[in-house]
Amino acid sequence: MSTVAAEFLKLRTTRVPYVLLFVAVAIAGIAAAGLVGSGSLDEDRALALAQGASFGTMFATVLGILLVTNEYRHGTVMTTFLVEPRRVRVLAAKLVTALLTGVCFGLASAAVAAAVALPWLASKGESLPLDGQALEGLVRLVLAFALSAALGAAVGAIIQSQVGTIVAVFVWFLIAESLVGVLASWLLTDLGEPDPVSRYLPGSALGGVVGGQGSEYMLSGPPATLLAVAYIAGLSVLGAFVITRRDP
């Protein structure tokens, strides 16, 4: 418990987490404005807004990465391990902190998206009923943020180098998975058709947590969430293995 409390204090006493939160929230607001302003919101309004806001999850991933790699970059990991020599517990505390911080990011993003969309829709004489679907959009968005942050922390524990981790994660998410998708659809289906492979990749699974447009290319909802959780669990176990063996 005290280790988790210390991790939160570490986050609160530097600036970057606030900047990341601000960017994530700003993206949620801009995406909501874009969706409402362009009139492209159809039936699944809450889900579409959640999907718009979910672009900010990459900043939650950065936060998770920093949570671990900042300690290696600045050498504070030694002090952290002096206080808690059981390194697996340190990693567990960081994963919990990442998940909870991700929840905060998700809630804040949802609040801003709602604050932009609701009055605007009302002024256009339309509505966004705060019903079960809205709740589902909120839960999915919050889950996506929480899991994105945890994934960053887990990969950070494996790679430990800050720049290395950020480059690896984003090259994988933004380039490698697309290449796999193109390759798989070229080999296994027609180009442009959904392929049977890339939906099982981690980035795609994380995207599927929120779902929405383009969901024919990915798993959606519960299966995507379970797969993302499985990836994070696997990466965390690997991270625990590396963190206990490789000395700072």
Binding site: S2, T13, M78, T79
Partner: protein, 296 residues
């Protein structure tokens, strides 16, 4: 009480620490000396489980570090003088350690006062001087009021007043019954601070001894100057004493000053100087560590 037993750490083909054994006793300041690259930092990190030794063990109060009940309140350590997030204030740096260790913020202010850093506590550490960083590291090590202190080069970057202040602080901590192990590559820092010294070179133990015994061992014989140096040398050699010429008119003699004086008097040789040839601790240190670095 710190005990290092047959500690060995191998990095690929390099033996950083080679079958090293020594102890540091409570109530005493133990200086851990060696040239740069001798394996001091490796040893200290192994002691607090920041690295896995290849073989051997290091224990604090009879236990490996990770098995201590409450490590942060048992051992205070400095292993890196610049291990801070540059954007975090000094006080918040200490608060993060205190929070993890279950120590209240009141103690944070106490240690800040102890290292005389209250004025800068609210500033980000990137603006700190090397001396301020050392003080902040020391404050972190003292947070849990530990029984054992493990300090890697704590005097680095301190000015002469700072070094005197550190010396007084560590002496008073040891006087309170604590075990204090302090590494340095600068002998003069340790000479007046430590009760005991552990000297290592190339990862191997050179000697463990009381500082005053090492100094006593530095007295090697007698130094004598005479305008009739060669006659004196001849007379001493006939008496079966080893002599070495020093400078134009000096001799270094492996014998008591009184014996040299008697020989000179018997031969009616004029002496300009007669005294014990006391080496400094620095010379002993260099001699010991050089001896150990020659390949065996």
């Amino acid at each position: 009480m710190i005990e290092v037993a047959n500690l060995t750490k191998r990095y690929g083909p390099v033996l950083a620490v080679d079958d090293l054994s020594f102890r540091a006793e409570p109530g005493r300041v133990t200086g851990f000396l060696g040239p740069n690259g001798a394996g001091k930092t490796t040893t200290l990190r192994a002691l607090v489980a920041l690295l896995h030794p290849t073989s051997g063990s290091a224990t604090v109060l009879g236990r490996p570090y990770p098995e201590l009940e409450d490590p942060a309140r048992t051992v205070g350590a400095i292993l890196e003088s610049n291990a801070f997030h540059p954007g975090r204030t000094g006080r918040n740096h200490l608060r993060t350690i205190a929070r993890a260790a279950g120590i209240g913020d009141g103690r944070v202010d106490e240690v800040l006062a102890l290292v005389d850093l209250q004025g800068a506590a609210g500033r980000r550490t990137k603006g700190y001087s090397l001396g301020m960083k050392q003080r902040l590291s020391l404050a972190g090590a003292l947070l849990g009021d530990p029984q054992v202190l493990v300090l890697d080069e704590p005097a680095n970057g301190l000015d002469p007043q700072g070094i005197r202040w550190l010396r007084d602080l560590l002496r008073s901590l040891a006087a309170g019954g604590r075990t204090v192990l302090v590494s340095s590559h600068v002998l003069s820092e340790i000479a007046q601070l430590a009760d005991d010294v552990v000297i290592i070179a190339k990862g191997r133990l050179v000697t463990q001894a009381r500082v005053k015994d090492v100094l006593a061992g530095a007295v090697r014989g007698t130094r004598v100057r005479s305008p009739q140096r060669d006659r004196l040398a001849g007379a001493l050699e006939r008496a079966g004493v080893v002599v070495r010429p020093v400078g134009d008119d000096g001799l270094s003699v492996d014998a008591e000053a009184s014996a040299v004086g008697e020989v000179a008097a018997a031969e009616q040789i004029v002496l300009h100087e007669l005294g014990s040839d006391a080496g400094t601790l620095e010379e002993v240190f260099l001699e010991l560590t050089e001896g150990a670095s020659t390949p065996s």
